[in-house]
């Protein structure tokens, strides 16, 4: 399965296209808050032969699912179409698309030659009667067709919002099965939308909380393989793991990469007390970052690597703090009611996502890095462990239902608090880590 991704050499070519003057192009401003999804039409991409027909249809459906899945766009059913798009090169009949109120139109064509697949597409601003950006072409192997569809979606999203997309990305998570008191956990990885699940470990030992490296090539995670929780690093493509040596006889957990991928910050337990440490991966040397009798855990770097946000109960209850990346004085940033944990710095650097426990409920929330403008996005019996989409617009997290039959499921939610939805996985899922956009 991994061979699929490494052998998928995506070619990207700019299509020659007429250049239009762009005055006031279609633009969905995500900071204003999108309440009414923007209607778009994505007629099936045009196959250039029988071999391409199924791919053309499947790619069109994945693109439409990516876009509607954001909650920002609404697909107009093909039943309403007036125009049929039977040629990628033929002029777009804007009046026909205006008539059904399609503000954006995505057209495309698919060519299959042997096991080589090429997708061409264009995005149209229907009411301006203009193309948005230039047509593009992606090519790769046929087995990588979903990635090409996601790449098309990323381009469409980007042109319509002015922001980076997140569709051609992967999520590492813990696949869960079995009852609560004997739950089996396996490390798994999948496309952001739940497709192409692969298992990276068996369920012989409890595994927890995978964390992607900044480039997506490695995963940190915690395993009870030795009987004690300890940190491991796994090469994603080779599915090869190694233990990161922390002090003998100690428990270590909650690791996370630095933005340059060269070091990790993690929790180490000594004598029952949990502090934060940092390890240089090349030398294997660790240095202590905190030294208090309190629990210090769940560290996460700022995107520039200069600071670390973490959770500590030094005030008596778990709260969020920020300190310099090499340790030093920490500043508390959470001051609302309840208990705060698992802070994660957003990829844009502007927000911290967190888990909040208050009055018997759990919430996923965001606040600015100075602790202001706290907003709770979700509420349930047990929500925890947020992870950011590569563009900082969506958060994925774990939701566990209560009771003897309680089950963990991955969910995603827009940082506006809208578009809460489950992410489909074959079994239960927990501890998601959203990786970067793929190359």
């Amino acid at each position: 399965m991994m061979r699929l991704l490494t052998s998928l050499l995506l070619g990207l070519t700019l299509l020659t296209a007429p250049v239009y003057a762009q005055n006031g192009p279609l633009r969905l401003d995500l900071d204003i808050g999108v309440i009414e999804p923007l209607p778009f039409a994505a007629p099936n991409f045009v196959p250039d032969g029988p071999a391409a027909a199924q791919y053309a249809q499947d790619i069109s459906r994945v693109v439409a699912a990516d876009l509607t899945g954001t909650g920002l766009f609404r697909e107009i059913s093909s039943d309403a179409f007036i125009s049929r798009v039977s040629s990628f090169e033929a002029p777009v009949q804007f009046a026909d698309w205006k008539a059904i109120n399609a503000q954006a139109l995505v057209t495309g064509a698919v060519n299959v030659s042997g096991n080589r697949l090429t997708v061409r597409f264009r995005v149209w601003d229907v009411f301006a009667g203009q193309e948005l950006g230039n047509g593009l072409q992606f090519s790769g192997t046929t087995e990588g067709w979903r990635r090409m569809a996601h790449k098309v979606s990323d381009q469409v999203y980007s042109r319509l919002t002015g922001e980076g997309g997140y569709f051609d990305s992967r999520v590492a998570f813990v696949s869960e099965s079995g009852p609560k008191n004997q739950r089996l956990k396996r490390l798994a990885i999948m496309d952001y939308d739940g497709a192409n699940v692969q298992y990276l470990t068996d369920s012989a030992a409890i595994v927890l909380a995978p964390r992607f490296s900044p480039t997506g090539d490695r995963l940190l995670y915690t395993s009870y393989e030795t009987g004690q929780p300890r940190i491991y690093v796994l090469d994603v493509d080779r599915v090869k793991q190694s233990e990161l040596k922390t002090q003998d006889g100690t428990m270590s957990f909650s690791p996370r990469f630095s933005p340059d991928g060269r070091s990790i910050v993690y929790s180490l337990i000594q004598g029952g007390n949990t502090d934060l440490w940092k390890m240089d991966l090349a030398s294997g040397q660790s240095v202590r970052l905190t030294n208090t009798p309190a629990i210090e855990t769940a560290p996460s770097y700022s995107p520039d690597g200069a600071q670390i946000v973490f959770e500590s109960d030094r005030s008596g209850t778990p709260q969020l703090y920020i300190m310099p990346a090499n340790g030093g004085e920490a500043t508390r940033i959470s001051f609302g009611q309840g208990r705060y944990g698992t802070p994660v710095w957003s990829p844009r650097g502007d927000l911290v996502a967190f888990t909040k426990q208050n009055k018997g409920r759990f919430h996923i929330g965001v606040m600015r890095v100075d602790g202001s403008e706290e907003r709770l996005l979700t509420s349930s019996f047990l929500d925890e462990g947020p992870t950011w989409s590569p563009n900082g617009r969506v958060i994925m997290f774990t939701r566990e239902t209560q009771g003897a039959s309680g089950r963990s499921t991955l969910y995603s939610v827009d940082i506006s608090g809208r578009n809460l939805r489950p992410v489909r996985t074959p079994d239960g899922g927990s501890d998601p880590s959203w990786g970067p956009l793929q190359n």
Partner: protein
């Protein structure tokens, strides 16, 4: 004294061996690895089964606490006496939390609880090198309902006998 030293060293070796076993059905409700030690007969005061059932292998904690209640201290007094009377056994103390709380915090909390039990046993004369700890956080509840009735049993430190040099 020389003999005792050897016994303890052997015991420590058997702990290491036990750690590689991830059988979840460990003796005495333990959640972690367990060596192949025979529980013996509950009527034999020197048996692990007696330790588990009569002495009591676990202590419970209040919500978000790792301090030992008077009741917990009584159980640990019994454990200490048993361990002192049976010096060929070593133990792993497992700390657990209920499901209220994040995975990370509960791992740290479970470690506090296991350590509190270990420190108490040491204060009563049990050699520290016979006692290891591990935290399972909220990963291995024994009761699976989502009410305080179950939670109170899940907030626990369980002393699991992991080796005997006498066999």
């Amino acid at each position: 004294m020389n003999l005792l030293g050897k016994v303890i060293a052997l015991g420590a070796l058997s702990v290491i061996a036990a750690c590689t076993n991830n059988d979840p059905s460990a003796l005495g409700g333990g959640a972690g690895g367990n060596g192949a030690i025979s529980p013996g007969s509950p009527s034999d005061p020197r048996s692990p089964a007696y330790f588990q059932q009569t002495v009591g292998d676990r202590v419970l904690f209040a919500v978000d606490q790792s301090t030992l209640s008077p009741q917990a201290q009584t159980v640990l007094e019994g454990q200490a006496s048993w361990l002192l009377a049976n010096p060929d056994f070593v133990a792993k103390i497992e700390g657990h939390a209920d499901e209220q709380g994040t995975r990370e915090y509960n791992l740290a909390l479970g470690a506090r609880r296991a350590n509190a039990a270990r420190e108490y046993l040491i204060s009563r004369g049990v050699a520290g090198n016979r006692l290891t700890t591990v935290s399972f956080g909220k990963e291995r509840p024994i009761e699976i309902c989502s009410t305080e009735e179950c939670y109170s049993k899940n907030r626990r430190a369980v002393t699991v006998l992991t080796g005997s040099t006498l066999g």
